[in-house]
């Protein structure tokens, strides 16, 4: 674990999708997400020695990814909603996404980052509350509260959207 750079990049590459997707969900754009990935790798490489237990690598790397993404957003104040790239992404992906999902996607992007983070970790990365609490260094109950609060906000947002369309 504390070894050479080859084994380090191997471990990172095993988790590259995860890191990239989390980063992407914050910035919604491939270039920025890649930049974040590189930053995460760089930071992790420098501080891998401070990681005492190898079994905590996953929560550790996720935490670095989240923090780096949030810092990146703060730094460039780029919060991107549906943009061209997303349109491309929809069009060249399967066209299976209906409007409702896109509404939800929009609503999610409007969420405060701390709510967004728990939603990503809970529903997209399928982490348990315990795992999320480890990643975010928050008590389990706080994580639960934040998730339910996030869902409430999403529901309200969707109803607004729905009524507007309807």
């Amino acid at each position: 674990m504390h070894g050479d750079k080859e084994s380090f990049s191997l471990i990172i590459k095993e988790r590259k999708e995860k890191i990239y997707r989390i980063a992407y969900s914050y910035v919604n754009n491939a270039d920025d997400a890649l930049e974040i990935v590189q930053e995460v790798v760089y930071k992790a490489f420098l501080s891998i020695k401070t990681l005492k237990y190898p079994e905590y690598f996953d929560p550790w790397i996720i935490r670095i990814t989240i923090n780096t993404s949030i810092n990146y957003l703060k730094k460039y104040k780029k919060v991107l909603y549906l943009n061209e790239e997303f349109d491309n992404y929809i069009s060249d992906g399967s066209s299976a996404y209906n409007e409702e999902v896109i509404d939800l996607y929009n609503a999610l992007n409007k969420l405060d980052v701390k709510y967004k983070t728990v939603v990503i970790l809970r529903y997209f990365e399928d982490l348990t509350f315990q795992e999320i609490s480890k990643v975010l260094d928050l008590p389990v109950n706080t994580v639960k509260t934040q998730l339910y609060r996030a869902l409430d906000i999403l529901k309200v947002e969707l109803e607004k959207e729905g009524s507007r369309i309807g």
């Binding site: 750079k5 990239y20 997707r21 992407y24 590189q38 420098l46 992906g93 399967s94 996607y105 997209f124």
Partner: protein
Amino acid sequence: MDKRINDLKKMYMDIKIPDNIDSIIDEGVKKGEIKMKNKFKGNLIKGISSIAAVFLIFTVSINASSAFANSISDVPVIGKLVQVLQFTGNKAQGGQVTDGVDIGMISLRKAKNSEEVIIKFNKSQDNIAPCYSISYEKYPYSMIFTVSGVRKFSAEKDFEALKQSNFISDSYNIITLDDSAVRFAINFKKPVKYEVKEYKEPAQIVLSLKECEKGNDKAAYIVRTASYPQGETLGILEERLCGFENIRIVKDDKGTFAVEAGTFESEEKAKERIKEIMNKCGSDIKLYIEKREANQLPKQMQ
């Protein structure tokens, strides 16, 4: 809602991973590697240069400033501070009762604007300074040290060294009839600011001298005896007068000594003192009144 979130998750999982992500990762690792090497190199350079800087400062300052060199050379000698003497009026005491002490060494340390006289005691119990009292006098400006429990005064030879001082004009032993005490005076060329610190382990008294603005001390009238060579006569005279205040033995301008019995602003007051003494001790002690400036030595009177 759950269904929609599941759809959203699908969307999330469908996020395309760019093909070049591996090279991006490799680049990140490389950056980290370079940074780490630089960090190590940087630390190494920092470490070496700080050590070098310390040596440089040390060498430069030890050569540039004699005060620094002196202070370094005396660092191991300076013991633990016992007290900074508080002078009440012009007197102060310190030390502990002991016996058989030798005043081993008196040395002078010069700095730019100040000087230190270090009085070192040998053979003292627990390495603590013996009982001493110090008084700062005028007419002439001087400091008188009386050290009790002392049987030997090896440092008498060191008086010669004090002549190097910019402040000290003379220093000399004063007779005392008490054979367990030693008394000596240090005369100053001009008024000084002084501070006395007592140390233990090893036992020392350090007298710091600094320039003082000219005091506006006026000429005064001093009651004194004739001059005598250093010897018991002086001691006996002093003893006979010891009921009175401010009795002291002072070296005159020719190297003999006189006993003085007080310093007064006016001739009348001095005369009164003489009368008092006559009444009490008899008229066989011949006393004179001498008018002197604050920095003037007594004149020899045969």
